[in-house]
Each structure stands twice: as C-alpha cells, then as structure tokens.
C-alpha cells in the first residue's frame, strides 16, 4: 500500500505532519490519516490565536461520516494562526489537499529542535509499511 508522503516536512506516529514555514510550524494530518477516515465532514479546532499548547495535547477533532479522530499537537508553543474559517466552511478541503490548503494550525514553537525528534519522510513511510 502506498500513501502520498512529501519529504519537505516531518511526521508523528499519530499521523500528523509539521512543516516549518518562516517563524512558525504548520500542523496538519497525513494522506494516510485522511484515507483511514474517509470523507471528512467536520473539522473542530478548539484553540484560538494566542493559546499556549503543549506537545501531545489534543487541539481539535476531525470527523468523517463514520468516525472521529483527535488532533494532537506535535510540539509545544503558542498558536499563531488557526485555519478555522476555511476548514469549517469546507471540511472536504482535508480530503482534497491535506498537505497544503488544509493545514490546521500554525504554532510558534517553544523549542524548534523538537522537530528533529519527529519522523522524517523515510521513517514515516517505514512506519506505515510496518503497520500494514
């Protein structure tokens, strides 16, 4: 089974991705996660700009017709932007462009080096391979 993975970002074992963009880190969910969920019908982002978030803590949920998945912060920091309007208006954006337009939140990280401890594209691909 092959899943689209890009090598311009890092990944978590919970199937989120984190991508550095200037001073912030964008967070989203992977193509594998999207495939597991199916048609996304609701995105709940329970954080606002200025909130401080801790690595591993939930910041929202993604719901499909059949099920719901929690979103976990891959790293600690301050929420700088929330892609709330776009994803509330068009949750299907997650199915269409999970690595681009469907980013969820932008975090100003407390410690950027945490990213080095996450999975690179090769390690994430290996994880998917071994779980299937």
């Amino acid at each position: 089974m092959s899943h689209h993975i890009t090598n311009d970002r890092v990944y978590t074992t919970d199937h989120e991705w984190a991508k550095e963009e200037g001073d912030v880190v964008l967070i989203g969910i992977t193509a594998y996660a999207v495939e597991q969920l199916g048609d996304i019908t609701l995105v709940n982002l329970d954080v606002a700009e200025g909130d401080v978030i801790e690595a591993g803590k939930p910041f929202g949920t993604v719901e499909s017709v059949k099920t719901l998945a929690d979103l976990f912060a891959p790293l600690s920091g301050t929420i700088v932007r929330v892609n709330k309007a776009a994803l509330e208006e068009r949750p299907e954006l997650v199915n269409e462009d999970c690595y681009g337009a469907a980013w969820m939140v932008a975090i100003a990280p407390t410690d950027r080096s945490v990213l080095n401890g996450l999975l690179d594209a090769v390690a994430y691909a290996k994880l998917l391979e071994t779980t299937h």
């Binding site: 949920t61 017709v65 059949k66 509330e88």
Partner: protein
C-alpha cells in the same frame, strides 16, 4: 475489509458518500451474506415462529414476508427479523449476523419436537440490489428479471438472474426500491459479477456497509445494537406497528401489554443538528438547562440531505417535533431539533 461476526466485511469501496449517492440516484449492490438465515420445515413451523415473534405470521400467504421483532419475556428486543413464508410448511427467517448465536438456539429450542430447523447461513449468500434503477437492472439480468418489478413490497419469488437460481424479495434496508436476492453461496460471485455487468450502463455501483448504514439511518430503519437491543422495547422504539397484541400467546406479550397499559417513559426520535457537530452512538442528549434527557443511538452526516442527523431516546415530553435539544458532543453542547422521520423518503 473489516472482520465482523466471523465474516470479512466490505465496509467501503469508493467512499461512503459516493456509494450512498449512487444508491439514491441510480442503484447499488450490497453483499450482505453475513446475515443469518435459517429454515423451518414442517406443518407446525408457523406456530413455532408465531410463538416467538411480535408480528403475526399467520396472515402471510405463500411467497410473502414480514418484518418483526422477537422479544424476550420482559418485552425487550432479542432481534429484529424478516420472516418469509415460502410454503405453508417451509419458512425462512433472516436474523442479524451479530445475533445468530442467540437467535438460532432460541428458535431451535421452540422447534424441538414440532418442526425441523436448519441453519442455512453458511450455504446462503444474500445480495441486495437497491435504488431507483434496481428493477431496471434486474430486467437486464435475464429473461425472468423483468417480471420481478411486479413483486409487491415484501413479496418474493424464485427466479433465475444472470443464470443463477435464486429467491428475490422486494425488501431492503436503504429507503429505496429494490430487491434482496438469496442464492447458493457457491453462486454468489457469479451473481455479483453478473449483476454489476448488467447494471453498469444504468449506474449500478458496489456499495459497502458504511453506506448501508447512512442510507438506513436517513430512512429511519433501526439498527440492532444501536437503536434497539435487549434494553429497549418495540413500543418505545417506534416499532409498535410490528407488535400484534391481539395475537395468541407469544413470548413477551404479557410484558408488552403491561408496558402499553402503564405508558412509556421514553421514545426514539429523530433529530437534526442545528449547531456544528455530529451526534454519535452513546452521546448524551440534554435539555436547555443541561439535564440529561436521553441518549443518541445512531448519528451521522446524511449525504442525501446535506445535514447531520441522529436517532435517540428522549423522555416523554421532549419528543414533540420542533423540541430544541442538545447533544453532548464530547463535552460540547451542540443544539439540535426533533424532526419528523423518516429523514429521507423516496419519491413514489
């Protein structure tokens, strides 16, 4: 494929929404061979069946079927079934796969010394052809297919479809027109492929169990294990029409008479989300002040309606159409409103 009740289940082919809409707009083909089937043979089969079900099978003519509950002595629901009268002395009962290990011994015990009973589940495949184009697909599936359009609702007959001998019944679980087709398990692949081929130009698509669930929910058809179980009775579940209290003795009759006389405490209602949220099985239903008034038994986005809908039990007094209720979506209270059901009704 997902394992369920010992079967690998086709949950999804192309995507739930796509499959759901294909069934509403054209037709879908479902493999529901996991359903339990058993046959009762003998002149006392009717009496055995009627002693265990809430509906009245004595009213059936040959080639007719009915939907019913089977209750325990407390009047709560052991399973919901379809009972088919093939002949006076030959009956077929279809039960939920998850209840087969409970229902088969239950019927076997009642049949002891009165009629023969045989589990036909393993040797029987069941394929559902559903949607506005379903009968047109059947008509293309062999010379006997066209005549199936003459079947009344819950009527069945033997037929040969794409060269496979089968029994076709005008039943379904989607809210659409269509048939459910029983055949020998060895012929199932031929029937499946043949029907897909026959229906290709008409838009027939394979549909999975996830789409079956959203379709049945829009049509407000109960799902055992979600909306009904051994803690619920047919009267509160909106299945009072399957309970024939005028019938002679049947298991659960005394309890159901008492429930009816005593009045119900709660009722299964349909609701539509007003706020942003999806109700799920097990979520609490609340009133405006935050008191729990019931629980959600099924909930999902409704692909045909572009709304989010649900079913749930609420205490009497909160069940009127238009009542504002709240769904506790994992700690967030989301507004909903009680609406008439079925949520979706096909144009006739």
């Amino acid at each position: 494929m997902v394992p369920f009740a010992g079967y690998d289940m086709p949950v999804q082919y192309e995507g739930v929404k796509q499959e759901h809409l294909a069934v509403r707009r054209a037709a879908g083909l479902f493999d529901v061979s996991h359903m339990g089937e058993f046959e009762l043979d003998g002149i006392e089969a009717l009496a055995v069946i009627d002693s265990l079900i809430t509906n009245d099978a004595s009213k059936l003519a040959d080639g007719r079927a009915l939907y019913t509950c089977a209750c325990n002595e407390r009047g709560t629901i052991l399973d919901d079934l379809i009972v088919y009268r093939l002949r006076e002395d030959k009956w077929l009962v279809v039960c939920n796969a998850s209840n087969r290990d409970k229902i088969l011994p239950h019927f076997t015990a009642a049949a002891a010394g009165r009629c023969a009973i045989e589990d036909a589940t393993e040797r029987t495949a069941l394929i559902a052809l559903q949607g506005p184009q379903a009968m047109a697909v059947a008509a293309r599936a062999g010379s006997e297919g066209a005549a199936l359009a003459e079947l009344q609702s819950f009527e069945l007959r033997e037929a040969s479809l794409v060269g496979v001998e089968c029994i076709a019944a005008r039943t379904g679980y989607t809210g659409e027109d269509g048939i459910e087709i029983f055949c020998d398990a060895d012929d199932a692949v031929s029937l499946w492929r043949g029907l897909l081929e026959a229906g290709r130009e008409l838009g027939l698509a394979p549909a999975g169990l996830a789409a079956r669930d959203t379709l049945r929910l829009e049509a407000r058809l109960s799902l055992y294990g979600n909306d009904i179980d051994e803690t619920t009775n047919p009267l509160e579940a909106g299945l009072g029409w399957t309970v024939k209290l005028g019938k002679a003795e049947f298991l659960g009759k005394e309890a159901l008479l008492a429930l009816k006389a005593g009045g119900l405490n709660r009722k299964l209602v349909g609701f539509e989300m007003v706020g942003r949220g999806i109700a799920r099985h097990g979520y609490a239903l609340l009133d405006a002040t935050g008191n729990t008034i019931g629980n959600c038994t099924s909930g999902s986005p409704a692909p045909s309606l572009e709304k989010s809908i649900g079913l749930g039990y609420v205490t009497l007094g909160q069940d009127a159409i238009g009542t504002k209720i709240y769904v506790d979506c994992r700690g967030k209270s989301i507004e909903a409103v009680v609406v008439p059901t079925p949520f979706y009704k096909r144009a006739t």
